[in-house]
Amino acid sequence: MIGVIGVMVRRNIIIIFMSIELILNAVNINLIALSHQLQDMAGQVFVVFVIAVAAAEAAVGLGILIAYYRNKETVNIDEIQLMRW
């Protein structure tokens, strides 16, 4: 939930990314706690996948960000509007 506030409220895109990581982490905590409660390994397996996917997404996202930053020199999300008409 804190991550959701972060995504909505901050304008620096990197902090938005980090808030997304917080959201993913919250999901992970839930999964592990439930897996512990229900004695089912599926939760932990899923967490491993979530971590892997989060790593991939962070890498690609930051790559896009850097490529964008090289051209536009801004990380303010209000000004990142290449797709806007």
Binding site: R10, V45, L62
Partner: protein
């Protein structure tokens, strides 16, 4: 009893650090709070009996991904000072409203399930006396390679594609 104290302090710290991540003025401070957040979450995983996932969390998440964020933050912040704080007019109200809705949902679900669910005894982890017969690592590896083989393969392909994509994106002469 001691675990309850430990857990609540841990949870309070994790939440507090999360709030600081979102509200720190300089991006580098945000990243640092994020690292501490992840480390505390790893401790939480150990309490819950998932020590392999805890170590993987530190190694991959806190040790790799956040380092990547730190790099990018430093490269991007080399020319700018920390941004002004959030725009209070529209984004703040909308964001808090949305988050409140999510919270209400979660509370609703929790209340609903607590009136019908049965609680099972909790074994393993910090407060139990059942030994780790097969450790968390072996259990996880066994399940990962037998029942969840296809997602495993898909995840590795995803990582490969992401790696290639990131390298291509970061090249200067595209």
């Amino acid at each position: 009893m001691a675990e309850a104290i430990a857990f609540y302090t841990l949870a309070a710290l994790i939440l507090g650090l999360g709030i600081m991540v979102v509200s720190a003025r300089s991006a580098v401070h945000s990243v640092l709070f994020l690292v501490m957040n992840f480390l505390l979450v790893a401790v939480l995983y150990v309490i819950l009996g998932a020590e392999y996932v805890a170590v993987i969390q530190v190694l991959v998440y806190a040790g790799g991904i956040v380092v990547l964020y730190l790099f990018v933050v430093m490269l991007v912040n080399l020319k700018r000072e920390p941004e002004q704080f959030s725009d209070p007019r529209r984004l703040g109200k909308l964001g808090t409203l949305l988050a409140g809705a999510v919270l209400a949902q979660v509370i609703g679900i929790a209340v609903y399930s607590s009136t019908r669910g049965t609680t099972q005894p909790v074994t393993g982890g910090l407060g139990s006396d059942t030994p780790f017969l097969t450790g968390n690592t072996e259990q996880l590896g066994w399940v990962l390679y037998t029942s969840y083989l296809i997602p495993f393969e898909l995840a590795s392909m995803l990582l490969l594609v992401a790696m290639v994509g990131a390298i291509v994106l970061a090249k200067k002469n595209l």
